[in-house]
């Protein structure tokens, strides 16, 4: 087997975080690179996402942060000449690119061998027809379906298959126009609408498995044909909800050994037949109880099942399975690709046995998706076949009830425990339990009202009664806590079911702190059990723990100084993978400084929850109770209670600063007071005044009257936002008093009693810095300039390093302000500051205003670390531990600018979220980011746009719908487009302007009822390939008209620019679309 081992391997990453492809592939790719290093194989990594651990300089041997396109990859291959390509660890993106490289003959041309699962197997797993053939050959059941082109064909198909059926129109997004049919009349209606919706008048009529169980198996196979199962998982949400949007439990709970082994054997037969070499995910649909959802067939025969899907690669489910079991799937898959067999790969957990075994769990794992509907209130909350979640949480405990309660806590929906109910349900005759992000709570509410379990199981279309019985157990405990006086046995039982102190307090009418005190008095404390892959059968060394209320504690504190890194929880809009990056580096920095790094996090997709990232991992909710319990457990050791670091885990971690301080627990880095200065509007104002640093005028208000008065004083436009929220939630630029009334209302709801901030909106260049302070000196690694003017959330802005429009004088002012602010606040470690720089006349002093200060690591830390070469987190942790910057070998002031340009561009997942408006504004909407890096600005910009799928196609047709406010700015752009050979389409007003310029233009009406073709038609039928649509304020008609334009563009997945500044950049980048370098980050930095 040794001869199969390549000397060098190309690994393709998965690119930016989007819905359906998140941090799990950073975890997988990082593990793969580590595996290559262990095997002595040189690794070459390409990924466009700078916020990843895998793109760190020292994870792979050569790191390219370049757009993930075939031409770029060919250039990398030509430079590096890798012997092998590992296609199955970069999600669907990586896999698709590998297939394209092969098809284009590039692999053959350069003699690159595809490693692991062969392309033929991938094709047979992904091609619908080949897949059915393969199943038929194995005698596996195939889901009956037929392709139809007329209503009559649909009826015939349904008669053959048997009702109910699902009608799926071909080539529509999210199944638009399709649906379920339970009767032939319904079928005719659904078939007609489905055929009409399909651009090729084709629908698939498929047997309806609604109500059937959805079960997944994570399996592995090596080149010698050895097969194992890592774990199986059962979806609490039955068939019909995307598994990424389902609540998932591992292992399966309602399968007997016969069921379990039947599906396991089927999974192994399938991967053997496909010839998988590596990891693979097989999804099954299994017949439910007949009293829940009837099906045809003998109830005494083995339960019928169907094979739904096979993912011939490491997937989101593999990451979950890895964390649920402790089995390092990606690492083992990478080694299998290098020719190793399972019995040759050492088991990283026991260190004695091999990778050829199946994990045994002695706990229950619950995963709950994290959806973005808290940010997109108008988004369609219904869950279906299109995944909508941005991230997920996982919790582990010894019972389902406890794991579920902990998972809900991990969602960080401030105070929304399982006790939460939607106010509308109070009056509802029947609580809606169809699949939405709130179904879990709806099921609880229905059970609280005494609804029958079987009835509820049917009404929810198949949530198995087993799960509902568990919810009923939780409700029984709620009642006891409401009715009985609190006594030790009752409190202990509640804790064993995962009730938080807060929930117990709410029900038993006490404060959480009182419950905590009672627990201590009664000796009710959690213990920590190890995730060891083997249910304690072997002595394991995994430092991976979860809390539970049992007898024996296994997480005995160890000797030596330690610190706790509070992680960032689930990936959500506004708090992405960047914060996991920072948390991981914080753990490593602690280790470099000779401390033991203890990590706490709740997100199974991340590198931080890999058990070998830190010295000890607690997989726990990130709330006060869990963190204090961990600290108390660690405090039993000889070194006492370790200090916590809350600076790297985003708003989640920083929110724990106050509670920790109140509990008298030590924090290192900026203390809670620095955080309070930054967040308390009045203190912040006074603080800046004392330092003589200007900020846009404004005030914190609590009433509408105050708001009106403030706005009048400072003048419109004003920026309205609640204090203490992340990602600019409920933030808005308001143009007049009418709008103000509406938005103060909206913001007040989100602010929940806390003040609302109203500031003068200054339209200038937005600039952002991250600074590191050791208490005496301040290092500014770099200044980033936003491409979009202030008003677009910094997380949604394109940004460039180094700035292109600032002069030395302005930079000096920014660095000086930064120094004063950071030292003045007493911030230790990292601080992020956002400024707005207004244009100035010659001779005038720089006009720099402070917008915002965050005494914590920001989402730009990975980007800036990578493009400056400054190990920002490491320096920050060093400073927090008392080491001066100078002692760490770094000066103060602005770090010398590198001779490179790097542009960060946001990436959105708008095609996945129906009903959500895509325009850029003060509220953050992007899910991920990419980076373009090159020797000059235009090339870096072009690469960033290509990587973000926002590059303008050359000489295309473009639809323009420009607001009055931006028409002046748009004029030169329109000229440039026309000169570049673009055909212009425009809405009425914009068209008149273009015609007035004497340029040819086709008018398209934006009135959807005003005849065809309208704006939506020209986008949907492909007449135009890109859109510039700048909206007016939210309250005007243009926003509503524009909504349809923007949604259509999102669904067709074509570039749509809603900020004139982004559009300008894209047009600027047209100048040199392919004239860019391809080089490693190290080469750009000139580090070698």
């Amino acid at each position: 087997m040794e001869s199969l081992k390549p000397s060098s391997v190309l690994i393709i990453g998965s690119g930016p975080i989007v819905i359906g492809q998140a941090a799990e592939f950073d975890y997988a790719g990082t593990q793969a690179c580590k595996a290559m290093r262990e095997e002595g194989v040189r690794s070459i990594l390409v990924n466009s996402n700078p916020a990843t651990i895998m793109t760190d300089l020292d994870i792979a041997d050569a790191v390219y942060i370049e757009p993930l396109t075939v031409p770029v990859l060919e250039r990398v291959i030509a430079r590096e000449r890798p012997e092998g390509l590992l296609p199955t660890l970069g999600g669907q993106t990586g896999l698709n690119l590998a297939v394209e490289l092969s098809k284009a003959g590039i692999l053959e041309k350069y003699g690159v061998r595809l490693l692991g699962t062969p392309l033929d197997a991938i094709r047979r797993a992904e091609d619908r027809e080949l897949f059915r053939e393969m199943l038929a050959k194995l005698g596996e059941p195939v889901l009956e379906s037929e392709i139809c082109h007329t209503v009559e064909e649909c009826v015939a198909a349904a008669e053959k298959i048997g009702l109910p059926v699902v009608v799926r129109p071909a080539f529509t997004l999210g199944g638009t126009g399709g649906g379920m049919a339970f009767t032939m009349d319904q079928l005719r209606a659904v078939a007609a609408s489905g055929l009409a919706a399909s651009p090729i008048s084709q629908v698939l009529v498929e047997k309806n498995l609604l109500g059937w169980k959805e079960i997944e198996y994570e399996v592995m196979r090596d080149s010698a044909g050895n097969c194992i199962t890592i774990c199986n998982m059962e979806n609490m949400d039955p068939m019909g909800v995307h598994t990424g949007d389902s609540i998932v439990v591992a292992p399966s709970q309602t399968l007997s050994d016969k069921d379990y082994q039947m599906l396991r054997s089927a999974a192994l037969r399938i991967i053997s037949e496909l010839g998988i070499e590596g990891g693979c995910n097989v999804q099954f649909s299994l017949a439910p109880r007949k009293d829940v959802c009837d099906w045809r067939g003998d109830p005494d025969a083995p339960l019928p099942y169907y094979v739904i899907e096979v993912n011939p690669r490491v997937s989101r489910s593999s990451a979950l399975a890895s964390k649920a079991t402790g089995y390092p799937i990606a690492r083992v898959a990478a080694k299998i690709a290098c020719g190793r067999t399972l019995d040759e790969i050492p088991n990283a957990v026991t260190r004695k046995t091999t990778a050829a075994f199946e994990p045994a769990l002695d706990y229950v794992v619950v995963k709950i998706p994290r959806w973005p509907f808290d940010k997109f209130a108008l988004g369609d909350r219904t869950l279906g076949t299109q995944m909508k979640a941005t991230g997920e949480v996982m919790a582990i405990d010894r019972t389902f009830e406890a794991a579920l309660n902990k998972a809900v806590r991990s969602l960080e929906f401030g105070g929304r425990s399982l006790l939460w109910e939607r106010p509308e349900w109070r009056e509802a005759a029947e609580i809606p339990v169809h699949a939405t992000d709130e179904r879990l709570w709806a099921l609880m509410a229905a059970l609280r009202r005494g609804e029958d379990i079987l009835e509820l199981s049917r009404r929810s279309r198949g949530v198995d009664p087993w799960f509902l019985e568990r919810l009923q157990n939780i409700i029984r405990m709620e009642r006891r806590l409401l009715e009985e006086p609190l006594h030790p046995e009752l409190l202990r039982e509640a804790k064993r079911m995962g009730f938080s102190d807060e929930m117990v307090g709410q029900l038993a009418d006490r404060l959480p702190e009182q419950i905590r005190a009672l627990r201590h008095e009664w000796g009710i404390r959690p213990v920590y059990k190890m995730v060891d892959t083997c249910a304690a059968e072997f002595d394991a060394e995994t430092p991976y723990f979860y809390s539970t209320y049992e007898q024996e504690n296994e997480a005995v504190p160890e000797e030596g100084r330690a610190a706790l890194v509070v992680g960032s929880g689930p990936i959500r809009i506004g708090q992405g993978i960047e914060f996991d990056y920072a948390s991981v580096h914080a753990a490593w920095a602690l280790q470099d400084a000779g401390l033991r790094a203890i990590m706490v996090n709740s997100n199974p997709e991340t590198v931080s929850t890999d058990f070998d990232t830190s010295d000890r991992l607690y997989f726990e909710p990130l709330d006060e109770e869990a963190i204090r319990d961990i600290l108390e457990n660690e405090g039993e050791g000889p070194s006492g209670i370790p200090p916590s670091i809350v600076q790297f885990g985003g708003q989640t971690a920083i929110n724990e600063a106050g509670p920790l301080r109140r509990a008298g627990l030590p924090i290192i880095g900026s203390d809670a007071d620095a955080i309070d200065i930054a967040e308390d509007r009045r203190r912040f104002e006074r603080f800046l005044q004392d330092l003589g640093i200007p900020q846009p005028p404004g005030a914190a208000i609590t009433t509408l009257e105050e708001a009106m008065k403030t706005a009048q004083q400072i003048g419109y436009p004003v920026l309205v936002r609640p204090s203490y929220v992340l990602g600019g939630r409920a933030m808005e630029i308001v143009q007049n008093a009418t709008e103000l009334v509406t938005f103060v209302g909206a913001a007040a709801e989100v602010a929940a009693g806390r003040p609302i901030l109203i500031d003068k909106f200054l339209e200038g260049a937005e600039v952002e810095v991250d600074a590191i302070c050791d208490g005496e000196r301040v290092l500014v690694p770099g200044i980033m300039e936003h491409i979009e003017r202030a008003g677009v959330h910094s997380g949604d802005s394109m940004a460039v390093y180094p700035p292109v429009h600032l002069d030395e004088e302005e930079k000096a002012v920014i660095v000086e302000y930064t120094r004063r602010i950071v030292l003045g606040m007493g911030a230790i470690g990292l601080t992020n500051i956002q400024y707005v720089v207004l244009p100035r006349r010659p001779g005038e002093a720089p006009r720099v205003f402070v917008l915002e200060v965050n005494p914590r690591a920001s989402r730009t830390v990975p980007f800036l670390s990578k493009v400056t070469g400054v190990p920002m987190v490491q320096l920050a942790v060093g400073a927090m531990l008392g080491r001066k910057l100078a002692d760490q070998g770094y000066p103060d002031g602005l770090w010398p600018e590198r001779s490179l340009y790097a542009v960060k561009a946001p990436v959105f997942s708008m095609s996945k979220l129906t009903g959500v408006d895509t325009y850029l504004g003060p509220e953050m909407k992007s899910t991920g980011e990419v980076m373009g890096i090159d020797r000059n600005f235009e090339a870096a910009l072009a690469k960033a746009l290509i990587a973000a799928d926002m590059a303008l196609p050359p000489k295309a047709s473009i639809l323009l719908s420009i607001s009055d406010r931006t028409k002046a700015d748009a004029l030169p752009l329109i000229h440039q487009l026309a000169e570049a050979g673009y055909r212009l389409y425009a809405t009425e007003g914009t068209s008149r302007m273009i015609a007035a310029l004497g340029l040819p233009v086709t008018t398209v009406t934006k009135v959807l009822s005003g005849g065809h073709p309208n704006v939506v038609d020209v986008i949907m039928d492909g007449t135009v390939q890109c859109v510039i649509n700048t909206p007016e304020g939210r309250m005007t008609g243009s926003l509503r008209d524009g909504f349809h334009i923007r949604r259509a563009a999102a669904e067709r997945r074509i570039p749509c620019f809603t900020s004139i500044d982004t559009a300008r950049a894209a047009i600027q980048a047209l100048a040199r679309p392919t004239d860019y370098d391809v080089a490693t980050v190290r080469e750009y930095l000139g580090a070698d």
Partner: protein
Amino acid sequence: MSDAWLVLADGSAYRGRAAGALGRADGEVVFNTSMTGYQEMLTDPSYAGQLLVLTYPLIGNYGVDERVEESARIQPSGLIVRQATDQPSHLRSHQTLREYLEARGVVAIDGVDTRAVTRRIRHHGVMLGTITTNESPEQALARVRDLPGYDEVNWVASVTTQRVYDWSIPLGEGRYRIALLDGGVKRNIMRLLERRGCAVRVFPAGTPARDILALHPDGVCLSPGPGDPRLLDHMVREVRQLIGRVPVFGICLGHQVAARALGAGTFKLPFGHRGGNHPVKDLVSGRVTITAQNHGYAVDPDGLEAGAFVSHVNLNDGTVEGIASRTDPLMTIQYHSEACPGPLDNEYIFDRFIEMMAAVKGGVR
């Protein structure tokens, strides 16, 4: 629900609640790490004389279905779990686990920190213990200290069939005629043989070789079973008479007995192998499969007579998982190719047994 205690011979005590019949149950405390298959385990005769700890915490989720039983009664003397589910959900379930245990008078305890118990056994080895619903832990401990050692009891005698019987296919109608020596057989062994066209006649464990040979079987199957194989000298002697004369297939205890007959020894494992996830390498094919295991003793291959060799090994601890012979039609496996519970990866062993019989029958010796 009544309080209950699990008390181990080393004095450790775990509080829980009664999850089955009330009373007391004594035995050697062993753990199994399978996540499914509690009913198959409960009816596996190899658990005779033992208290079974299931490491998976939720037991009873899919209820009880008599059709999956591996023998006619619940075999371990008691059951220890973290949470017994009283509201099962499965198409086939017609009873809860608690009802099943109560109806059969089997004592069980739930609410126990089963991981702590498991870790104790792993560190200190298997030991005697008791589940009790009507004593103090101190009283129970005093009683446990007086219990006879598990290894001193011939458990096979208590589980083997008392009379000869035929399984399903009448003797004259099978493609192969199998004599099965019942040391504590699981029904699925017979089901799998039946599915391959075998007529199976089941004999008590103490049956002399000549009685078996008088049947003119195409093959002999030595079944699994409980207890220390060193107590089975008589059986070992009789099996020695069978080897070489008729194809022999031994499973678990049957493997240990055959190994002893071939000159090997056996020894007690510190805490046994019980679960559905043990990797076994077939040294002939090089393939690794995942196996179901349930044994507290293992074969020491020292002394194996010439011609016999180790054919399978456990990848976790290198112990012997199978023996074959170059000279005689013989194959044995330590693990449970019949699964139930456990992975179905090893049914091929039954096919090999059929091939072995076919070869002998066809005169290819």
